[in-house]
């Protein structure tokens, strides 16, 4: 059942993300906010960096990166949300997990964007390599890490009555941490 919930939630959220109005009113503004945040962070040590919509640009060199779908962390977040929703836990824990996942994935995504911005100016070949392969893997790995740590935070699920009956006499069960 959790596998089915995971697949359904994943596909549903992904389909919703691709809808035109969602792209126009949620994803594009959100991606623009990521570009703005990246620019603010970069301007603390590099005043030439500017954000224009979803484009991050170096005013001195003209080098620019455009933050496209797949580079805004939304897909990785969708995967983690689907996994969290499919995991048996109270909604308070699930919402906490989703919030933590959002922070963790977006924090690493900012590092990705900033690193790619400078990598592009240093070596376009390495930029392509990091952009298309390495960072994609690192972001989903980040999602996996957050999910594993979240599951460790969960309280133990009480066993169902049938299982309790089967374990009578096992009073030395492992106590919770």
């Amino acid at each position: 059942m959790p596998q089915l919930i995971f697949a359904v939630v994943l596909l549903a959220l992904f389909a919703i993300e691709l809808l035109g109005p969602v792209q126009a009113h949620v994803i594009q503004p959100f991606t623009g906010a990521i570009a703005q945040t990246s620019a603010i962070l970069l301007q603390t040590f590099d005043s030439a960096v500017q954000a224009e919509g979803i484009v991050l640009r170096d005013a001195m060199t003209g080098a620019a990166v455009s933050i496209q779908p797949g580079c805004n962390g939304v897909e990785a977040l969708i995967c983690v949300i689907a996994a969290i929703v499919a995991t048996p836990a109270g909604w308070k824990y699930k919402l906490t997990g989703i919030g933590l996942s959002f922070v963790a994935i977006q924090a690493l995504n900012l590092i990705r964007i900033i690193s790619l911005f400078y990598l592009l100016q240093w070596n376009p070949t390495w930029f392509e390599w990091a952009h298309l392969y390495l960072w994609q893997a690192l972001i989903i790995l980040d999602g996996l890490i957050v999910y594993l740590l979240w599951v460790r935070m969960l309280p133990p699920t009480p066993p169902v009555p049938e299982q309790l009956a089967a374990t009578e006499g096992h009073a030395d069960a492992t106590p919770p941490d």
């Binding site: 994943l10 779908p69 897909e75 048996p88 390495l134 893997a137 599951v151 460790r152 699920t157 066993p159």
Partner: protein, 210 residues
């Protein structure tokens, strides 16, 4: 060395990523051969009215179509020249799940023989992911990027175009990253139970054998 298994596993995974990606990239031309072969089968058998052949060129896959188009005026071709429509797809952007799976598998504390078995099985089970991605990109290029003349001959409807767009995005944005994680989790259920005490405590001792 970190005390908790989860910390050891996470650090080992990150450390294994660099060599896994390096070896994967060096062997990419060989590793992509079965993928290009399957793409050839799917596209020429399923869409033979549009695609004649699929040819691997290193890490690129060339899609050779039946469509004839005017040659670009900026090239060396003579005026009014025509040519067969061929375009290239970067196959690696759908195949990076393999080094991720390898890094995760090597980081998990299993016997070397078991790691090898899981890597081989995992790489076989991962094959459909890049095949799906490349196939959908080839069809997307023909339906959405080559103009109404080519799109009209692909015989699509508004519904199948929406479906193709969804399948392409799924094959590009979700499947290459998500599938290795799911395969790894399926191969390492025992280790996951060790990593996640919650999962262990959720099941009574008599069932787990604790």
């Amino acid at each position: 060395m970190p005390r908790r298994p989860i910390d050891r596993f996470l650090i080992a995974t990150v450390l294994w990523l660099a060599p896994a990606f390096t070896v994967w990239y060096l062997l990419a031309s060989v590793l992509l051969m079965p993928i290009a072969g399957w793409v050839q089968v799917v596209l020429t058998q399923g869409f033979g009215y549009a695609i004649v052949a699929v040819e691997q060129q290193g890490t690129m896959v060339d899609i050779v179509t039946r469509f004839v188009m005017a040659a670009p005026t900026t090239g060396a071709a003579p005026p009014n020249a025509q040519g067969q429509l061929v375009f290239s797809i970067n196959a690696l952007k759908y195949a990076y799940g393999l080094p991720l799976l390898v890094a995760l598998t090597l980081a998990a504390p299993t016997a070397i023989g078991e790691k090898l078995y899981r890597v081989v099985m995992g790489s076989l089970l991962l094959l459909p992911v890049p095949v799906w991605g490349i196939t959908c990109e080839a069809l997307k290029v023909l339906v959405f990027q080559m103009g109404p003349g080519v799109a009209g001959q692909m015989g699509t409807t508004p519904f199948t175009r929406e479906l193709l767009a969804l399948a392409y995005q799924l094959g590009y944005l979700i499947l290459p990253a998500m599938t290795p994680i799911l395969l790894w989790a399926a191969f390492h259920r025992d280790f996951l139970r060790e990593l996640l005490p919650q999962a262990r405590r959720a099941t009574p001792p008599a069932v787990t054998g604790e």
